[in-house]
């Protein structure tokens, strides 16, 4: 299984299958966090580019493909946020955008709209400590199990459970917070 996973970084056929299996989930994952179609499309490309770099870090025994992939997506996103923060202080980012046709933009906007409630919950979570917020995010918003969320974050499952519990206690007023799969 580990060999097969590593193959996606070098084998066109294996990569294409992996990409088609998950491109929609990754797009939605990003649409839950970002409301600009161009940025979402750019980041979809970035996430799968990061997959090529880190395919060797996947261990089948530790969790599902999607948990691993969300971990990669989170890292890509925080790298992007650091970069944007740095750049915003220097220059506005105008060039180098991926050209999207109107259909693309429309489809992306649909997804971004569909994920609107999730982005609202993000705002509510903003004040939680980073570690707790990360677990809550993956479980409640991205629908990972606690074990999968732990894998995506590279922490122990027990730690993830404790953090999830604390985060839920803090935010018990929000209905969405209690959703998400157990485990």
């Amino acid at each position: 299984m580990r060999r097969k996973q590593a193959g996606i970084a070098t084998d066109h056929v294996a990569f294409e299958a992996f990409y088609r299996r998950h491109v929609d989930a990754v797009t939605r994952f990003l649409a839950r966090r970002i409301d600009d179609p161009h940025t979402v499309a750019d980041l979809v490309a970035e996430v799968f580019m990061a997959v090529l770099d880190s395919a060797h870090t996947y261990r089948a025994g530790l969790g599902t493909e999607i948990a691993w992939l969300y971990g990669v997506a989170r890292n890509t996103l925080s790298a992007e946020r650091r970069r944007v923060f740095k750049e915003s202080r220097l220059t506005s980012r105008v060039s180098g955008r991926r050209p999207l046709d109107t259909d693309d933009v429309a489809r992306l906007e649909e997804r971004i709209d569909a994920e609107g409630p999730a982005r609202e919950v993000f705002k509510a979570m903003a004040d939680l400590p980073e570690g707790e917020r990360a677990v809550l995010e993956l479980v409640v918003i991205d629908q990972l199990t606690v074990t999968e969320a732990a894998m995506a974050l590279g922490i122990r499952s027990g730690t993830a459970k404790v953090r999830l519990h604390r985060a839920r206690r803090t935010l018990r007023g929000l209905p969405l917070v209690m959703e998400g799969t157990p485990g």
Binding site: A9, H12, R98, L100
Partner: protein
């Protein structure tokens, strides 16, 4: 074409480009002003073991702050560069096929002006080869804005009973930008005592 298909195409092109880069890494070349290159070249006889599951190299920190690199196979130069970078040394590592060298210069070599200048220079001190296929790198001699350029050339004769040189090594420190190098035949390959010997002067 939808953006998803567009991205897939780009990523496939990237996979191809990476495969190409990996293929080329083995041939990426080193060069150097003749004097420094020759002064730095040293040869060492080591048995190169090639177990398939073995990692290409191992990097460890010595008690005195130097970094020990043990080479098992001439591959994964990029990864080794990254590992050294993490340990504070900017390095440019090249694994060469036998009889190959590089044309042109790779940049401003520290101590590269003359053999006198070379003696005791950072270039000379930055790397110490050890018997058995390893080397100690001293980060203190590779400063900010400098790069440790190292090139290893494989010998095609890995098996004969003759006194063997399995690979050659050239290493030096470059100030500022390290230039890429143009592959060329190494005219000095056969100069000293037949094939596989280090270039004259080493």
């Amino acid at each position: 074409m939808s953006f998803e298909e567009q991205i897939l195409m780009e990523l496939k092109a990237e996979i191809t480009a990476r495969a190409e880069r990996r293929r080329r890494t083995g041939r990426r070349l080193f060069t150097g002003a003749a004097v420094a290159g020759l002064a730095a070249a040293a040869a060492i006889a080591v048995p190169l073991l090639t177990g398939s599951e073995r990692s290409a190299y191992a990097v460890t920190k010595n008690g005195d702050g130097t970094i020990n690199v043990k080479l098992n196979e001439f591959r994964d130069a990029d990864k080794l560069e990254q590992d050294l970078k993490r340990m504070g040394v900017t390095a440019d590592i090249t694994y060469l096929k036998p009889r190959k060298t590089c044309r042109g210069d790779r940049g401003e070599i520290v101590g590269g002006g003359s053999p006198e200048e070379w003696k005791g220079s950072a270039s000379e001190k930055a790397v110490r080869l050890l018997p058995g296929g390893g080397m100690d790198i001293d980060p203190r001699y590779v400063g900010d804005g400098q790069t440790l350029v190292m090139a290893f050339t494989e010998n095609e004769d890995q098996t004969s009973e003759k006194p063997r040189v399995l690979w050659q090594f050239a290493g030096y420190v470059v100030n500022g930008q390290v230039k890429p190098c143009v592959i060329a035949d190494d005219p000095t390959w056969d100069d000293v005592d037949g094939p596989g010997r280090p270039p004259a002067g080493s």
